[in-house]
Amino acid sequence: MSALTVVYACLFYAATAVLVAGLAAKIALYARTPAPLKIPTTPAPASRGGVALRMFREVALFESLFRANKWTWLFGWMFHVALLLVLVRHLRYFIEPVWGLVALAQPAGVYAGFAMVAGLAGLWGRRFLVERIRYISTWSDHLMLALLVAIGVSGLAMKYLARTDIVAVKAFMLGLLRFDWQPLPADPLLLVHLALVALLMAVFPASKLVHAPGVFFSPTRNQADDPRERRHVAAWAEG
C-alpha cells in the first residue's frame, strides 16, 4: 500500500466526516431554532401541499432568482443542473453494478461538465464586470468559484487531455466504501481533482454553501399563508 493511497484514503474519510457531521449539526440547529411568527412572502400558498410545490419550484427551477435577474438565473441554474448531472455521472465510481439510470446519464454528464464550467465562468464574470456584484464580492466568493472551476477543469482534463485509469479509481473508491483499501493511481491531475473535491467537502458546512440546506428552512418560503385559520405559537414566545 503506497503512502499516497493511505493519505488520500484518510483525506476522504476526514472530509466525509466533516461534511456529514457539519451539515448534520447545521440542520439540527436550523430545525431546533424556533420561528415565532408567520412571515411567508407573497405569493405564499395557503396549504402545506402548496408550500411543497413552491419549495420544489424554488429548488428545481430557481423561481425567485428567475424573476430577479435573468443572467444570474441562467448561469446559476446552468451550473447547478450541470453539477447534478456530473454528480450522477460520477456515481458510477461508487456503485457496482452501475444502475441503469446512471449508465443512461453518462453521455449527458460529459456535456454537463462543460456546461458547469461555463456557468461558473458566467457567475465569476459577473463578479468582475457588474459594479454592484463586484462591490459585494468577498475573497471567499472568488476562491469558492476558483475551487469549483478547478475541480471542473481538472475533471475535464482527465477526460480529454491525460486520461487516467478509471478502473483503478473505481476500485479505490469502492475500497474506501468497503474499508478494503485499493491502490490509487498517481496521476497528477487525478490527485489535484480529488484533493480539491475533499477540500470542497470539508469547507461546505462552514461556508455559504449551506444555502443548500438553508433554503428548506427559510420561513419566508416554507411557511403556509394561514395565520388567521391556524394559530401558530413558538415555545419561547408563549405566555
Binding site: Y30, P45, I136, K208, R221
Partner: protein
C-alpha cells in the same frame, strides 16, 4: 443636526440601475432617542458602557430565538439578485442601500463572533469586529431600510432584509441606541392609546365634529361612535384617520359603509390606534403589548367582530401575527375572518348587495392604486390567493369609472415602498424619503402621462402621509393621494338603499 438638504432626483423616462455613489447617504441618520424616551419603554437610556459585549450577547440571544435570522445570515451567497431591488438604493445609489450590503453590516459581525470561518479567517470571509464605526453604520443604514420586504421576493433563499433590520434595531435598542421617532411613538401608544398622543376626550370631540361635517355635507346622520358597549364591530384604525388629511376621508368612508349597511360599530379610546411600531423595532414583547390593547378593548366592549382600517403594517401585524400574539379569538363571531380588513368587509357587503356605489360620483377622478408593501408582501385578504391585490382594486372599480394600474413590475408583490415605512416617517429623514420615493414616482409619472391619472389610492396611513409630503417634490399635487374608502365614501348611496 442641521435641517437636511432635500433633493428630489429627476424622473427618468427609462429608469436604469444607478451606478454606485459611495457614501452618498452616509450623512443620513435619525435622531437618537433621549434617555426619557428609551427608559419609558424599558430600554437603557443611553449607550451602555460595555455596549460591545452586550450587543454581541443580544445577537446570540436573537440567533437562538429567530430561525429567520439564523438561516438568513448563513445562506446568502452574494449572488446579487437583490442588489437592484431596494427603492432606497434606486433613489440614492449608495451601495450600502443594496439589500445584501445592508445585511452584510450585520453578517460580518455575526461571522466574526459566531462562525468558525469568521473567527479564524476574518479577512477571507469579510468578518469584522463590532467597532464604533460599524455601530455607526448600523444606526445609519438600518434606519434607511423601510422593512418593505421587496428584496425578499427576489432572493433565491427568501432572505428577508426586514428580519435583519429588525434584529439590528433590537440589538441597538438593547444597548441604548434607540431611534427617537419610533420609540417616542411606542411610549405614546402605551400612555394614551394611540401613536399621535390624542387623549380620549379630544378623540370624542374630533369624532363629534366629523359627524357634524358629514351631516352638513350629506344631510344624513352618519354616526362615529366611541366606546359603545354592545356594538357588533370594533374598528381599529390608524390614529391619523382621526384628523390628518387625506386619512380622515377614509374614516368617513368606513362610517358611511357601516351606516348604509346598518351595522352597529364602534371605535375604542383604549385601542385608538391600529399601528404597531413594535414591528418596526423587531421587539416581540412590545408588539405583543401593543396588540394586547385590541383584545382588551374587544372584550371590554363585548363586540363580535374586529375590523382593521387602512393601515399597511397594522394589517400585517393583525393578519399575520394577532392570532399568535393575542389569540385565540374564540370570543368573536367565527363566521367572519378574525381580524377582518375594512376592504374585506366592504367588498363582502358590495357583493351581497347590502351597499350601493354610484361610480359617477368619482367621474372627476382618474385613479391608480399603490399597493402598500406590508399588505402586498406580508398579508392576505378574502381567503383567496392574491386577494390583497384583487379586493382593493375591485372596490375602486366599483366606486370609479376610470382606473388604470401602474406598470406590472411596480405593483402587486413587486410594489415599491412609498419611502416612509418602517419607522422612517420623520422629518430629519426627509431627504432619504424623497429619494426613496423615486421608483414609485416614476411609475406614477407614466400613468399620469398616458392616462391622465389624478388620484393615487392606497390603504396605508404611512403611505398617505409620506406621499402627501413627497409628491410636491416631484411636481405633483399633494392631494393626489387618498384612501380607497375615500373613493367608496364619495360614491356610496346613503339613506334608502332600494
Amino acid at each position: 443636526m442641521a435641517a437636511a438638504q432635500v433633493e428630489a432626483p429627476p424622473i427618468r423616462e427609462y429608469p436604469v440601475i444607478p451606478i454606485l455613489a459611495h457614501d452618498a447617504m452616509a450623512g443620513s441618520k435619525p435622531y437618537v432617542a433621549s434617555e426619557k424616551i428609551n427608559e419609558a419603554i424599558g430600554f437603557p437610556g443611553q449607550l451602555v458602557e460595555n455596549w460591545q459585549a452586550r450587543a454581541v450577547e443580544k445577537m446570540g440571544e436573537l440567533l437562538g430565538k429567530y430561525r429567520s435570522l439564523r438561516v438568513f445570515l448563513d445562506a446568502c451567497v452574494h449572488c446579487g439578485a437583490c442588489t437592484d431591488k431596494c427603492h432606497y438604493f434606486l433613489g440614492t445609489g449608495d451601495p450600502k442601500n443594496m439589500p445584501v450590503a445592508r445585511q452584510e453590516l450585520v453578517r460580518k459581525v455575526y461571522r466574526r463572533y459566531f462562525t468558525f470561518a469568521g473567527k479564524w479567517f476574518p479577512k477571507l470571509v469579510g468578518a469584522e469586529d463590532l467597532t464604533e464605526s460599524v455601530l455607526e453604520d448600523w444606526y445609519k443604514y438600518f434606519n434607511q431600510c423601510s422593512e418593505c420586504r421587496r428584496c425578499s421576493v427576489y432572493c433565491p433563499y427568501g432572505i428577508d432584509t426586514a428580519e435583519i433590520t429588525m434584529a439590528a434595531k433590537e440589538v441597538m435598542d438593547s444597548i441604548g441606541m434607540g431611534q427617537k421617532y419610533t420609540n417616542e411613538i411606542i411610549g405614546k401608544v402605551h400612555r394614551l392609546g394611540n401613536n399621535l398622543g390624542l387623549p380620549g376626550p379630544a378623540l370624542a370631540d374630533t369624532l363629534e365634529t366629523l359627524a357634524e361635517e358629514v351631516r352638513e355635507d350629506t344631510g344624513v346622520d352618519v354616526r362615529f361612535p366611541l366606546d359603545e358597549e354592545g356594538a357588533e364591530v370594533l374598528v381599529v384604525t390608524p390614529s391619523a384617520d382621526f384628523f390628518a388629511e387625506p386619512h380622515v376621508y377614509s374614516l368617513i368612508g368606513y362610517a358611511k359603509v357601516f351606516h348604509a349597511a346598518g351595522i352597529r360599530w364602534t371605535l375604542s379610546s383604549r385601542a385608538s390606534e391600529a399601528g404597531n411600531f413594535g414591528l418596526f423595532i423587531g421587539n416581540y414583547a412590545q408588539m405583543k403589548a401593543i396588540a394586547a390593547r385590541v383584545r382588551e378593548a374587544a372584550l371590554e366592549l363585548g363586540v363580535k367582530r374586529i375590523v382593521v382600517g387602512e393601515c399597511g403594517h397594522a394589517w400585517r401585524v393583525a393578519y399575520s401575527f394577532w392570532n399568535t400574539l393575542i389569540g385565540p379569538f374564540d370570543f368573536l363571531d367565527s363566521r367572519y375572518p378574525v381580524p377582518q380588513h375594512i376592504c374585506e368587509l366592504t367588498y363582502d357587503l358590495l357583493r351581497r348587495g347590502a351597499i350601493t356605489l354610484d361610480r359617477e360620483k368619482n367621474d372627476h377622478r382618474v385613479v391608480t392604486f399603490h399597493d402598500s408593501c406590508n399588505v402586498a408582501r406580508g398579508s392576505g385578504m378574502g381567503g383567496m390567493p392574491r386577494g390583497q391585490f384583487i379586493i382593493p382594486r375591485e372596490l375602486i372599480k366599483a366606486a370609479c369609472n376610470h382606473f388604470h394600474d401602474m406598470a406590472p413590475e411596480t405593483i402587486h408583490e413587486h410594489t415599491f415602498c412609498c419611502g416612509g415605512g418602517g419607522g422612517l416617517l420623520t422629518d430629519e429623514l426627509l431627504d432619504l424619503r424623497v429619494k426613496g420615493a423615486l421608483p414609485r414616482m416614476e411609475a406614477l409619472a407614466r400613468v399620469v402621462e398616458e392616462h391622465g391619472v389624478n388620484f393615487m389610492a392606497t390603504i396605508c396611513a404611512i403611505c398617505k402621509a409620506q406621499f402627501s409630503k413627497v409628491l410636491p417634490y416631484y411636481k405633483f399635487e399633494m392631494d393626489m393621494i387618498g384612501g380607497v374608502h375615500q373613493l367608496v365614501g364619495d360614491a356610496i348611496r346613503l339613506g334608502r338603499n332600494d
